[in-house]
């Protein structure tokens, strides 16, 4: 049944890019905005180290708080002071431990993320920074600690790697190339990528910034919380300044 209803065109000239995701319309402008920003250093955290620090903090809190009851030489009247000291140690350990674990998880995503994006990068395109992003709103609470996506800033555009399941390992998804979708956002347009806005709970603003991304082909923007963590955040902060100033 081949061959009927044949149509023909001829003589067209194109530039083929090897099936790469095409650059958004604002890529050149975004490139100008990103001029002078150098790629972020590799992250150096450790998930195991961070978890261990958190656990040590809990153990230290229990021992310090109960010290007046366990050690005879300590005045039992100082119970309150020891409890506050224990709480301070716990908070410090939790802050540093969670930070270390979170940067460790970002570091682990780095290699598979680069493999996933590599085939779409143009010759003059380089990765500046990336972050493991959390969806804001109800989804944030639904997804918990599992990253809902990875935002990758290059000097031409913003890639958004969205995971389709909150309950599967993002590293495995990246390695198997299953359960994820690679999308492209126009960093130069306010519609494509916009910083700012309210996050719930409001205390999130102490630890993250809100970035609303509307990938090409999608009809609405989805807000993400970009956490203020590691050396990638230092670069993303510069990118944010350039994007908000323009």
């Amino acid at each position: 049944m081949n061959g009927h209803d044949e149509k023909k065109t001829q003589g067209e000239t194109l530039t083929a890019t090897g099936g790469k995701l095409s650059l958004p319309s604002g890529a050149a402008r975004f490139g100008e905005m990103m001029a002078g920003i150098s790629p972020a250093k590799e992250e150096s955290g450790s998930v195991a180290g961070g978890v261990l620090l958190c656990l040590l903090g809990i153990v230290a809190y229990v021992f310090i708080s109960l010290a007046p009851l366990m050690i005879d030489s300590i005045d039992s009247g100082a119970f309150g002071a020891f409890m506050i000291a224990g709480l301070a140690v716990l908070i410090v350990c939790l802050v540093f431990g969670i930070g270390m674990a979170a940067t460790g998880s970002i570091a682990k995503l780095g290699g598979p993320m680069r493999d996933t994006i590599a085939e779409h990068l143009f010759n003059d395109e380089k990765i500046l920074a990336y972050c493991s992003s959390k969806r804001m709103g109800m989804d944030f609470w639904m997804h918990g600690m599992t990253p809902a996506g990875i935002i990758v800033f290059t000097n031409r555009r913003i890639f958004l790697i969205v995971f389709t399941s909150a309950f599967k390992s993002p590293i495995k998804a990246l390695q198997k190339r299953e359960g994820l979708i690679v999308m492209v956002c126009d960093g130069a347009s306010k519609e494509g990528a916009k910083w700012g806005g309210l996050m719930m709970p409001v205390t999130m603003h102490l630890f993250g910034s809100r970035l609303a991304l509307k990938p090409e082909g999608k009809d609405r923007a989805v807000p993400y919380a970009v956490m203020h963590l590691g050396s990638n955040w230092k670069t993303i902060k510069k990118i944010k300044e350039k994007m908000t100033l323009s």
Partner: protein, 221 residues
């Protein structure tokens, strides 16, 4: 080889010596493109893809051509010839293309197929390319394809929401009925109304109906 996607499972047979390389799915237009690149040694010579939206239909736009014929370089003198194609329950369009890639004569073949003559649903795309004298294998792959459609994941999720909502509301009503019965028989001082469970269950159930009717994909997609 099997190309698993949330909307369909596609089985195909690559020519001897060809290897498939699964690539990460990408957003294309308002849908998603799942693809296997076909390699002969280190050279990429073709692809098999499933598109969740209408990528080609009956016209081959240049951006679709560039996305599905993964060559790199300057293309001149591109000629496209379109014809209808039908094989073993799959029908659609076939494009044959001649062009010069950086001055070298090249040919490409592309098939856009749908199962059971459906106008909607996933589109299966097969394309192969190579130098003009290379054997043409796209038709061979296209004829080997078999496709099993899957339930739309958005609708699947919607049904799950409806079931969860219904069960929560039912649970709330049953618990209320049990405590009411206990209060009536004097075993408990008064009955407890599980209003929250019923209300939340109803809202979740209605959300499920809304998603089912609108076919809206989940937020995580």
């Amino acid at each position: 080889m099997t190309l698993e996607t949330p909307v369909a499972t596609v089985e195909y047979l690559p020519p001897p010596g060809w290897e498939c390389d699964p690539r990460p799915p990408v957003q294309r237009g308002d849908g998603c493109l799942y693809k296997h690149l076909l390699r002969l040694g280190k050279k990429t010579v073709g692809l098999v893809a499933v598109s969740t939206s209408r990528t080609l239909g009956t016209a081959l736009e240049n951006d679709a051509f560039l996305a599905l014929v993964a060559v790199e370089g300057g293309i001149t003198g591109l000629e496209k010839r379109q014809s209808a194609f039908c094989s073993g329950g799959m029908d659609g369009c076939r494009w044959e293309m001649d062009f010069f890639l950086d001055g070298t004569p090249f040919v490409a073949e592309l098939f856009a197929l749908r199962g059971d003559g459906r106008a909607k649903g996933p589109e299966i795309l097969v394309s192969c390319w190579g130098a003009a004298e290379d054997p043409r294998n796209a038709e061979w792959i296209a004829r080997s394809i078999s496709c099993v459609r899957r339930v739309n994941p958005a609708r699947k999720r919607a049904v799950a929401l409806m079931i969860a909502g219904f069960l929560a509301a039912l649970c709330g009503l049953l618990l209320t009925a049990i405590t009411y019965d206990m209060a009536a028989s004097g075993d408990a001082p008064e009955y407890v109304g599980f209003v929250g469970l019923v209300v939340v269950g109803t809202i979740v159930f209605l959300q499920g109906i809304w998603r089912l009717l609108s076919g809206r994909p989940g937020k995580s997609e």
